[in-house]
Symmetry: D2
């Protein structure tokens, strides 16, 4: 890497923040069971402490997404949680309502034929918006498990209308700085139809909902072989891309750590964003969030690993020579255009990452440094003891 | 089947027209080669004669989609072709421009970085619109093979803008009764990215293009496991569904005869349309078109088989008890709601089809009747001789 | 349906038995949560009672698959469970060991690098074989969740060898009438690689394991678009098909009720089996088992619905005219060959099913009859009360 | 890269040979058409000359796969072609019979119900074996387009038997040094069922055929999301892996240049092979072949690009620390095991490639060197003129 490249990467990394998720520090599993970790977070303070560790070692994770149902107790002041976060050097990021676990949501939330369930879901989303205001979070992330399992069971169009209705009502409650991100997913846990099944449905609903509604792209929520970076490019062009839930997958929504299965795809997503920034002369404001649910890796290590990989792939994408690329694309010189991407991807950016970390007074290898800190062993012992009480 | 059911089916069939495609009567193949049929149509008059046979025996295929490049000679009056069609008892249906075969389109048509290629493609589409006017066809079907094969090769957003630009210009040329249908396809013949890759992209472009642009759904142009009937329901709800290209597939865009792999899926698509008609109290105007490319079945038989299957599945869908279904869906009585669909699907509608055909003075079994007519043997002999000249 | 057809169906139904699964009567869910049903079975006696209901109303489910970990208590005589089953008019079917939930199996069972975990798993399988002997069950069904989530994590070949080793050891313990079925699954809960990922791997392992090992086909354990009936045909031809786990799916291993998404596929599977029986002049001995995990349908209704659909599709498959089909296939008369299957599939076999049930002194519609029996309401009340204790 | 790493790569590259394919130098396309290149090879001497160029610049492509139908004229001595190859510095590699284009193969070759077609196909394969002997080629590559397009059309088991029969007969004709590789493919050009649809079917047939039959893995012939490296690992363990057809794909069998869509996957395949070599202390003998059909890239450049990428990914795989990996895998230290692979993959091996080329007296960048040679412009001019004759 030459000096110009080092600078490019350093500048890019300065702008790169990625949000961790509180739930990723707790035990999780598949429908077939869970494997427990002594060091897994038990409660929200644990999660925020762990998130604080990730930020302390990586320097790029100042915010933590929270899950309303799991992280806030009814009746308590949400600011108390924000204070705990602050104590650990982080602040509260995206607010994630949970409208899929209560028994009322058996047949859906915003799309439920039962008005009582819809009302309950809407109230919960509005409560979440209020929590967001209280903790000065700017993003409300909406994921709906709504859908149906069998043909004929659901009136798809009617449910769409209920969604439009509820989303608009929620949108009215947003504060001036709040944004509502609408996530899509083609399957699971509803198997026949999902009410918001793809980016087109998120887009249509966002457009109808209002100016503060944008699309949330979860990299694992796509059909096999779908070109995600093209969706990203289109949403950017339409000014409708709100943010990402990052993870990786092979078959379904596997929620693996980032770049573990197909790192080139994540690189291409970053490339489309940076290329858009270059061409439009303004980097878009996008919420990068991690949503992973690794069932066996140690939780904090897995998070640091993902953050480091995100930085590495972002740094590689920053090396793409946009000027040259544009010329080659215009001339249809496809071999050379492809090699521009490929050479950036295969550049070893480790030296640049190390240098940037040095500049930020961070350890050269956050994963090793975290291990050496002894934090995990410490909390494993303490949490294990706490569990046995 | 009771009398009420017979009437329901009969009424439904009265409204059901499906368009054949001129190209489906000619030899076709895969990239690995073609298997030739003596009876395959050689030229446009052959194709129209064959389409006339299909209509004569089925009574529901009064129009034939044409492919501008293959069916119209430059400089000739398109009305001459319309006259040939009339002679065979059919008329010209959707006009399909071809902007993918000329060497100019190597890197795309409306999305080509070369302005000359874009201009040529736009001119061809405009010419096609004029042909449509001349032959009183109401639909211009736009399918674009545009895309790229390798990451980095194409500026996805720039190509999107060129598409917006060209589509608008073409839209301006539409006559008062003409509609422009924009097709989507996620892969093939461009393998890395397709400029109009899914229904969301068709939707966004159609919305920008103008009030006469709608989405065209080809049943084979989807990701594996994608819920097509949900897309249909959404497009209906948005008043953006223009028409269908019907065929079946297992893995990719296999262009097999209708309902050969998954007849229940086609049934569900018809159901969503009829259910929409019931609820909105007005049947939507949708162009049903067949776009199949069976490589080995005898061409005319394959077309009649598809038409008969389409009628059969449409008749089954007409048997769904909408009133009851609506109640069950509202109550989330999912087993019974599902059985409503399933019982309709498994009802043997053959007696109703036979009766309807009798009413229309058609043979009870169009496929057998066509075989007995001796048409295929006759044209096979004549066309074989013609080929050897 | 004519008399000959009625007889054909009746004869086919006489031979058709399908096994229910104890776990399908209990609450289940996805990784996102569960929706509870008052009437869901709480313990094994409940499950067997419910299974008894299914058999009582359908007349074709005399056996119930059991899950060792959930249905047998350590130290208790398994025959006690067999007696409870007998009380409810059913007997114990396939024995399913559970080597995926214990914390020891975090990194696998037979494929675990830790010899202690492998030993524990092997012992559990051997214990399951002994339970099978005790309750006179002839089938031990082996499903392994083994695999890895990240590239590099696992030595794929080494794990294969451990599988070969353990399977052989287990095979040695089989009684003279016992069969070992080896299931495959390409994903979930291991996301990067599954140790027994497809039928080829099951086949290779079964061949190495011994003469009593055969392949188990779960209809939901395939890649999207994979031709399952071809696998069935090959396994039949190789005399390596042991049995089925039936369910339906759209995207992943959705475990929906049978035939809910693609009934034609299940029909084609039955057709391949019956066609094999016709050609080889001997019906193969295959264990038909239901493995569904519907998250919202009432448990017993869902099971009866699946059983009825299985009978219906099997009856349709029995209507295929094998003699004619063979001739048409030999002559490559593909349109007519296809129509043979299609006409059988679309024949309304309800009259034959009703007649067969009458002959067996069963209600014409088992689902309605079960509902009218009031059983579900009764157990819902009783079980709800029991839960609150 | 340190010295040890440089040496590891250098040693690995010394062993790495990859075969080009004659057909990849000629014009090709999709079923929607072809885009012609002036420089595309017209005849076999052209193809061999072009293949000679690739070897001259890359130093690792000494052999060229040939297609019997397209590269050998009936009645001519195949040794003449071998001499032309020798003139261009290459020799004849795998012999590929063509049993899919002749009209006789409409319903299959080895699986055709018509004995005459089977006989013709078998004779052609035997002729191909004889050509192989004549030109001292050691591999006969068998790909069958056989299958069916519609359910019911084919007797799947009967066709399997015909395959077993014909393969055995062909196997008998193999010379002492010849190997028969049997390729599988799940779809295209047969859309409903493919007679040899997956690796399991190739395996079963190879085992039955005889000791000289092995499985050929085409990286594009898999289901979406299928774990190809696991199949490779299993075939290695079973000593049944014969060779590869390398290419890349997103949706179907796209035949793109290697590593263009998912380079990490190809790296993992190479890793499994090298890891097997390490553990078994003997590198397996595997035929690496390129089978790409890029429709727009310049033919020779595309081939050089693929060869260079293959070398690069093989070099990366050579950097995996097998000793360490084995320990980590045994200990289930999954994060570190994964990082072993990842760090090897992300190592910039360009310096090692340059050094190796220097050692071999090759240009540092074969693609640039080839461009500078002016060969393409020269043949473009000559071939264009020849075409116009």
């Amino acid at each position: 890497m030459n000096d110009k490249q080092l600078q490019k990467v350093s500048k890019a990394l300065d702008t790169f923040k990625i949000e961790t998720a509180s739930w990723a520090f707790a035990d999780s599993g598949t429908r077939f069971g869970q494997f427990y970790q002594d060091a897994a977070a038990i409660d929200t303070p644990d999660k925020l402490a762990d998130a604080g560790q990730v930020h302390q070692f990586t320097g790029c994770c100042p915010t933590v997404a929270v899950h309303v149902l799991w992280d806030f107790n009814k009746g308590e002041d949400p600011k108390a949680i924000a204070k705990v976060a602050a104590k650990h050097g982080v602040s509260i990021g995206a607010i994630n309502p949970n409208v899929f676990q209560d028994q009322a949501y058996k047949y859906g939330s915003f799309g439920n034929p039962d008005p009582a369930s819809r009302k309950q879901a809407l109230q919960h989303v509005i409560d979440s918006i209020e929590i967001g205001k209280a903790v000065k979070s700017q993003i409300v992330s909406l994921w709906f498990a709504d859908g149906s399992n069998y043909p004929g069971q659901a009136n798809i169009r009617q449910r769409k209308k209920w969604f439009e209705e509820c989303l608009k009502k929620a949108h009215e409650k947003l504060g001036p700085k709040q944004l509502m991100l609408i996530e899509y997913k083609p399957f699971e846990p509803a198997f026949y139809h999902t009410d918001i099944g793809d980016w087109g449905m998120s887009y249509v609903l966002s457009k109808k909902t209002g100016p503060k509604a944008k699309v949330l792209v979860d990299t694992g929520h796509h059909f096999q072989s779908q070109n995600i970076e093209q969706i990203v490019a289109w949403l950017l062009d339409e000014d409708m891309l709100g943010g990402f839930h990052f993870n990786d997958r092979r078959y379904a929504d596997d929620d693996l750590t980032l770049g573990s299965i197909d790192p080139y795809q994540i690189f291409r997503i970053f490339h489309e964003i940076l290329y858009f920034g270059f061409e439009s002369k303004k980097m878009p404001s996008i919420a990068y969030m991690i949503d992973q649910s690794h069932i066996d890796k140690p939780k904090i290590e897995a998070m640091i690993q993902t953050v480091m990989m995100a930085q590495e792939l972002f740094a590689k994408a920053a090396l793409v020579d946009h000027e040259k690329l544009r010329v080659l694309q215009t001339r249809c010189e496809q071999v050379d255009a492809e090699e521009i991407l490929r050479r950036a991807f295969f550049t070893d950016v480790t030296p640049a990452l190390v240098e940037w970390r040095k500049k930020k007074k961070l350890a050269a290898n956050p994963l090793l440094a975290f291990r050496e800190s002894g934090y995990e062993a410490r909390v494993a012992k303490e949490r294990k003891a706490r569990r046995q009480k």
